[in-house]
């Protein structure tokens, strides 16, 4: 895996404060200020000539920023909650506060600023480095990890040093991403069969046929809510992931994506991408497949750790086509 320190670009990070009482640093990103205390992350900005601010429970904030960093700002809008988040422009990134909240944006108290990706990435990584304490893993489900709260107490570099796995064709192929035989089976998946498929190659074709147990592979995922590529058909990417507790962000995609529930159950809260008003709740059970249209945002809830297939189309020109209306937000009209 990549080291978080690689391309850390620490010279791009602006620290504005180190609190003597809590031990945490405060960070400046353009006109945004980020600080934390024992319980909360605080984001401050100026609109209409006045200071505005937003508090998030620091565990929720760290889980959200962890996904944004690990996913390289992902596709489209990564809402940390109903107020703050980022929009990926694939080279630069918008950080916003209230811009996609119907009430705050109508009141004109929202603020958005664009950053070159290395600058915002370096700042977010520095926040994770400073604010994640020893014993807290922002990639884990709450039952699996310690507390995010309290004053500064060590760090957990190993936990925040994990990224989306990139796969060229399929894990386990020669020269491609590895299988997960060296990771333990998650406590919720001890009943998932661990057998591998039989692969028989005729002489001269060794290595050309390949198969693996994708449920086993997923049962050994050591992170939650982290789509990782397991098959590549041109720009069509299967990105399965294991889900437990709440998706730490509310994802508004700049394209259509699809979910296929492999096991157990997830409830999705669906709301309008631009103003956040509720549209639907979708309950998915094993074998259910559904589209997430390009004009919504979604957040999932999973009591038991579950196996989910996230299906993405990585074609680069899709965001403009959806934004311009050339493509309808719904994938099928029937």
């Amino acid at each position: 895996m990549n080291s978080l320190n690689k391309n850390f670009a620490s010279e791009l990070v602006e620290v504005f404060d180190e609190n003597a009482l809590t031990g945490y640093k405060g960070f400046k990103l353009g006109n945004f200020l980020f600080s934390r205390d024992e319980y909360f992350a605080k984001i401050t900005w100026t609109a209409k000539g006045q200071e505005h601010s937003h508090l998030m429970s620091v565990d929720a904030f760290l889980r959200a920023i962890m996904r944004d960093v690990a996913w390289g700002f992902f596709y489209g809008w990564v809402n940390f909650d109903h107020v703050i988040g980022t929009q990926n422009h694939y080279g630069s990134v918008d950080m916003y506060a209230g811009t996609f909240n119907g009430v705050l944006s109508a009141a004109g108290v929202d603020y958005v600023e664009n950053f070159e990706t290395p600058k915002i990435m370096a700042t977010f990584k520095a926040i994770l480095h400073d604010w994640v304490n020893e014993g807290f893993d922002p990639f884990a489900a709450p039952e699996e990890t310690g507390s995010a709260f309290g004053r500064k107490n060590g760090s957990n570099v190993d936990a925040i040093d994990r990224y989306r796995i990139s796969t060229k064709r399929m894990p386990g192929l020669n020269g491609d991403s590895p299988l997960r035989d060296d990771l333990p089976v998650n406590r919720h998946f001890h009943d998932v069969p661990q057998d591998e498929p039989l692969v028989h190659c005729e002489r001269g074709f060794e290595g050309e046929l390949s198969a693996f147990n994708v449920f086993k592979y997923m049962s050994r995922s050591d992170v939650t809510w982290n789509p990782s590529v397991t098959s590549v058909c041109k720009e069509s990417l299967f990105c399965p992931t294991t889900e437990e507790y709440i998706l730490p962000i509310i994802h508004g995609n700049d394209r259509v994506e699809w979910f296929l529930q492999f096991s157990d159950e997830i409830t999705w809260d669906i709301s309008d991408k631009n103003d956040g008003s509720p549209l639907a709740r979708i309950i998915m059970k094993p074998g259910d497949i559904c589209a997430m249209p390009a004009n919504i945002r979604h957040q999932g809830y999973s009591t038991k750790r579950s196996l989910l297939l996230v299906w993405e189309n990585a074609t680069p020109d899709l965001p403009e086509k959806y934004a311009s209306g050339e493509l309808p937000p719904y994938p099928v009209n029937f």
Partner: protein
């Protein structure tokens, strides 16, 4: 000690979820269940259950022996609930690279046997570009195929989706 039971679906044992609608149309979410689709399909019909521009996810009910298929690009198959054998041939002449999606390879394609894989529930195989492949299943099994819309792809959203 295991206190958790992982729930999977199968052709004979699935329960479809639902949409609790607040605003808009349920059909916007194109919601179906792959086991229900496979249960109501003919063997080896390739029913599209997910579409994203030219890319598709198809559900296939594997039962008995299929035709030989081929493709100019990689495809991937996952067995969702049972055992299926996939035999492979290295074709002497592969499909033109411009032609996308699954194609029929004829009843006796010209090629060399490469071998086979046996997939059980949750097992995934690559169907490499330029090969011909054929499924064989003793009992009805649900397959998931990742490919591109092709001449064999069937769309029947009105029949399979929540409205």
């Amino acid at each position: 000690m295991n206190t958790y039971t992982t729930k999977f679906g199968s052709l004979d044992n699935y329960e479809k979820g639902n949409i609790q609608l607040i605003q808009g149309k349920a059909s916007n979410y194109v919601f179906s269940n792959i086991f229900e689709v496979a249960k109501n399909a003919k063997p080896y019909d390739k029913t599209i259950v997910g579409i994203n521009q030219k890319f598709v996810i198809e559900t296939i009910r594997a039962e008995g022996t299929s035709s030989w298929f081929t493709c100019s690009h990689d495809e991937f198959v996952i067995s969702m609930d049972g055992e299926v054998r996939v035999d492979f041939l290295k074709l002497n002449e592969s499909v033109d690279i411009q032609i996308e999606g699954t194609q029929l390879a004829g009843s006796e394609p010209n090629g060399q046997p490469m071998g086979y894989v046996v997939l059980k529930e949750g097992h995934q195989a690559i169907l490499p570009a330029g090969t011909a492949y054929r499924f064989d299943s003793q009992k009805p099994t649900t397959l998931l195929l990742q490919t591109i819309h092709g001449p064999l792809s069937l769309e029947k959203w009105d029949e399979i989706c929540l409205k």
